[in-house]
Symmetry: C2
Subunit: 285 residues, 2 copies
């Protein structure tokens, strides 16, 4: 039997509808339009395209989104001063930094400069710590997207064997914490793992984000597993994920496609976080 | 061949010697004796015994340790006000809370009230977030103790299969982050895991802290694995750990005993953290 293919666009649409309604209600309560600002350093064309997509998504749900653009030679002090201004500006309810940033600017410094209550991406150490401690507040968008898909499909995580192929700060590590908070058994493997297949092939839920096309073949997958592909890899024939979709879908129980799976839900998850930071500006965080 | 038994007391002695020397040098630099304060709520006899042990350990390395004691009916506001005073007191260089605290007092609130730079236990969300992000500063004592033992034995963690039997905030979750930061493959299992043995028995390094005597038998252990027992379980015949020591030591390559393994290194690790908070009070954190 072929796997159920998860329609990420449909899930994202549902989230956007909920957010639209919430924005209407919160605007009438707080008497101000939610506004977020993104800092863009340098002129990476991919970043500009992504920002355009996000601006569109924001506008559709009633959130104002603008950008501060900086030359790629800007100093770290100038960027952190700009972040301080945004922290103190009561008309700004959320702050994002568009990566990649130039190498002379420390990502740790940027992340730590944002007021945690306006930290849309959830990368500030304080928010990351709350994620680790199970006192979750603002959670990074990709892990939040994975959770949203699992909840949408009514997966009870307690005692499930979950394997994550990624151990980055933005995906694997916070996602592992979120899954442990829900009492899943969690295995994190990555490029240094000696034999990933022995682990991926036992997982009830396999979440992969290695950035390697066709890395995950049916051999890596347990029969009827839920396979979630968070990779977004540009190729000559369009974007693809880690999973060899056509063959794996014959073995998995549920599967997310690329494109149209995790991606749209991640953008909608960023909108969810914007609502949280907007509320934080008016209520106790 | 029988496993090498790790002598935790010997490792702790070495750390204490290093700390003693560092305290002498820092005292002459900062012109003030390091002083830490522990908040004790209620009169749990186990807590009082533990505090006495820690006071002794502090005194031996030149750190002054005192306590603030509160009735078990104290309000959360009174405790957080006391923490604020300690945060602002320039003669106090580190703050600890002795758990268990009464159930009407939120552990999250207490942890978040301590100034992160004086947070000896590393439980503040900001410090936990830095641990998760690989920008480690003050790391919880038990995970730090495990790392210290692995480093002492010169274990190269990159690509090693590590299994942790514990998913708590004080041991399993921060330890998983620390091991992923060092590029180990990390599996976290716990009471909800369906079949722990399939994972424990593949681990190059097995770290267990379930609190169940004789949980780990030779069946659970890979030949020549490094077995680290962080459990401290009081029984009628003294304290023991999770590991059935006599039988497992015939299969493991290295093994920590209970008592005399992780425990003494954990107390020494708390002293290490006190030096960090002391330095934080005089230098940029």
């Amino acid at each position: 039997m072929t796997a159920t293919v998860i329609d990420g666009r449909e899930i994202a649409k549902k989230i956007r509808k909920e957010i639209y309604d919430e924005v209407v209600s919160l605007k009438s309560k707080y008497k101000v339009t939610p506004k977020i600002t993104t800092l863009l350093i340098g002129d990476d064309p991919g970043s500009k395209l992504y920002l355009k997509l996000r601006d569109n998504a924001c506008n559709k749900v009633g959130i104002t989104s603008d950008h501060l653009e900086f030359d790629e030679n800007v100093s770290e002090d100038e960027i952190t001063a700009a972040i301080q201004n945004l922290n103190n500006d009561e008309n700004i309810h959320g702050i994002l930094i568009q990566y990649p940033a130039p190498s002379h600017i420390s990502q740790d410094t940027l992340m730590s400069s944002i007021d945690p209550k306006k930290d849309v991406e959830g990368f500030h150490p304080y928010n990351m710590g709350r994620t680790l401690l199970g006192n979750e507040s603002i959670v990074p968008c990709t892990p939040l997207s994975v959770l949203t898909i699992l909840e949408h499909e009514e997966v009870d995580l307690k005692g499930k064997d979950v394997c994550i192929v990624n151990h980055s700060n933005v995906v694997g590590k916070p996602l592992a914490a979120l899954l442990l908070n829900r009492n899943a058994t969690v295995l994190v493997c990555h490029v240094f793992t000696q034999d990933s297949k022995q682990y991926t092939s036992k997982a009830d839920v396999l979440i992969t984000g290695a950035g390697v096309p066709k890395l995950i073949t049916p051999d890596h997958v347990k029969k009827d597993a839920f396979v979630i592909d968070v990779a977004i890899i540009p190729t000559e024939s369009g974007i693809c994920g880690d999973v060899d979709f056509e063959s794996v879908k014959e073995k998995a129980g549920k599967i997310t496609p690329v494109p149209g799976g995790v991606g749209p839900v991640t953008i909608a998850s960023a909108l969810k976080n914007m609502i949280k930071t907007y509320k934080n500006c008016f209520e106790d965080a």
